[in-house]
Symmetry: C2
Subunit: 116 residues, 2 copies
């Protein structure tokens, strides 16, 4: 048995409002995740909600990275779907903490497309 897709889900609580309210800091976080994981960006799109809140979607050669933030609740949802398993998802958690500070991260890994 093996899986075709590796889906990492990070629910991040206790975020500072300003860290997730606007596109700019969320984009920096997402860029850092991509660069640190040697993933290949094809295109990225953002939606800035008024007055605050962000959706970011990165189309990757390996699949996608998404972010959705609720600054009023101190919460951001991050998902990485990849056809290649991460060597070490702890690295991503460290990047999230580097950008967002003292947050609470709930990580799930979902194997997608079980074959064999």
């Amino acid at each position: 048995m093996s899986s075709l897709g590796f889906h990492y889900v990070w629910d991040v609580y206790n975020c500072a409002f300003d860290a997730i309210a606007l596109v700019s800091p969320v984009e920096k976080l997402m860029d850092d995740i991509i660069q640190s994981s040697s993933l290949t960006l094809i295109d990225k799109k953002f939606n800035q909600f008024a007055p605050h809140g962000v959706t970011g979607i990165y189309l990757l050669e390996e699949s996608h990275l998404s972010a959705h933030s609720w600054p009023e609740n101190g919460y951001i949802a991050l998902d990485l779907f990849s056809c290649i398993a991460l060597d070490d998802s702890t690295k991503i958690k460290n990047i999230i903490e580097d950008h967002l500070g003292q947050v609470r991260i709930e990580e799930r890994k979902i194997e997608r497309g079980i074959i064999g």
Copy 2:
């Protein structure tokens, strides 16, 4: 306790190769899911893999819809992340079957951003 995001995961097996190999049929399926659910499309992006396989990402007012297909394995991964719960996810399963025929659908619903 309530959740900020409603994340629907559909792992779809036993798909016909031609139904998921190229952008065109996958785009029609995704468009139909959006229209039937009264979701609001902001932008969409696709990647056509050579010789086959598709990534599709829809940026929605409500969050996102993604698709990743492995035609050689008869598998497509569909994810809908929405700030609004679907009235009835059975409708989506029916649309998937309308487009892809006799497939096996594994559905999961993940509540994202638990507050209160």
